[in-house]
């Protein structure tokens, strides 16, 4: 397999594998039959830290719109709502994560996959995703700082 790209978050080097596609809300999408397996990128996982709670608001088979709220996550450092990366249908959730979300941290690009999504949407290449991370890194830090004030 070709070597992963890398995005530097301070001292941490977030690997961005080139065998899959990406969405701007920091998930990877790896083709799997006529669907994509979707999971958090190393960038997301790095910001989240240890995940200990994951919950989905919708049932498998639900059609979703891009940026529709679909679930919640809580980690040692953060809480977040989760949003669909693109228009499509979420056909299956990774059930094992609901009992133990540890694989999100230990195997984020593999066993830590979140759900399978069927979508026709145009996605980002690894190069485009890394470019986006680079372009937005300053803004992202500022946004994260700013959001501490916002409800």
């Amino acid at each position: 397999m070709t070597e992963a790209l890398v995005f530097s978050m301070g001292k941490y080097q977030a690997p961005i594998p080139v065998d899959r596609l990406y969405a701007p809300n920091h998930v990877w999408l790896k083709p799997d039959g006529d669907t994509y397996r979707v999971g958090f990128t190393a960038y997301s996982v790095r910001l989240l830290n240890d995940v200990y709670f994951l919950e989905w608001d919708i049932e498998p088979g639900t059609s979703v719109r891009e940026r529709q709220e679909i679930g919640q996550i809580e980690s040692s450092k953060a809480v977040a709502s989760l949003y669909a990366p693109a228009d499509g249908v979420i056909v299956e959730f990774n059930q094992s994560l609901l009992d133990d979300p540890t694989p999100i941290n230990t195997s984020g690009y593999d066993a830590g996959w979140l759900y399978r999504l069927k979508t026709e949407a145009e996605l980002l290449t690894p190069q485009q995703y890394v470019r986006m991370l680079e372009d937005r890194w300053e803004d992202t830090q500022r946004m994260l700082k700013g959001q501490i004030n916002e409800p």
Binding site: K77, V79, S81, M143, L144, I148, N149
Partner: protein, 360 residues
Amino acid sequence: MSGKLNVVIAQHQGKNPGKRQLEEDIAAALIMEPGLSVSIVPHLYDLTETHTGTLHLRSVSGDLLVLAWLYPRAARWTLDRLGVRGKPGRTRIGAGAAEQNDTSGDDPHRGTPEKPTDARPVPDRFVFCVDLRDVEGAQQVVEEVRRLRDELSTPVVPLTTWIQGSPRPDQMRRFLNGDGTATPPAKPDAPRNGKRNGNSAPAGPAPLVIDDPTPRRWYPVIDYDRCTNCMECIDFCLFGVYGVDDQARIMVEQQDNCKKGCPACSRVCPENAIIFPGHKSPAIAGAEGEVAGLKIDLSRLFGAPSALEIAVQERDRELIADGREAVGMTKGIPKRQANAAARPRDELDDLMDGLDALDL
């Protein structure tokens, strides 16, 4: 201050039997306690300016403990709006209580005197607010009330010492008025429609119950400890809810112009000083600490619309419902977004440092 503690139970809006039961259990337990005055009013947030419950709350002098189905911060500023004020007191009920007691430099009197936004004098008494959702049972309230009562009560001064010494004015007044003795105090200013419970327990007076109906209301409540008078709310709200008082201080002037369910101004407030006590989001409903809290909210990273985007959508929806045109991002948009980088070191810096320190 007098050793008598006034306890007011503000009822839940709904008729949930479990909640009613808790209110009744607490009232029943507290009337057995000496040194208390117990009353029951409808839900604080729904009280109008002239409601008998409001008049009753205003008539209460001395330390006040309010038990309500609201975050303590929401209850405190709703009371403030009703003209019921005092130094904010801390109780030991609620998840945040332990943290609150030892948060560094978080003086319970913080913001009350010097804040330019809020130069009003604060009455020399404590107002404690407890969220009934944090209460595990009546006994917990009884114990906390005992603790507060003991903590607040002036030590008993024997008459002989009084004759030899010089009593403070409040001691003298209390002595002359015979207040604080075993006799339940008269209530000359009891609300017009207030009524007493039928069976008074032998141990003490029955609680005063004010149960005039209160239609549900929806309006913002300003936390003047946080408000910096930046006027972004008045710029953003296009329904004329906000105004300024004669000190040029922001105020909720036309609360009934507010659109039910719309918390948009709260989202644009840079200090999270605008509370909608009935909103489902704890940060908007006045929860302490959830926003500046221990955990960072990464929702926006994963695609959540920004608070401003949501606020603009909410405002447009209400404009259209009023037969007006949506204005989107063209009116009253906060100018502060650009300078967020200038903020002092905060949790994110700590988080990022913490991440770097970790050996992942």
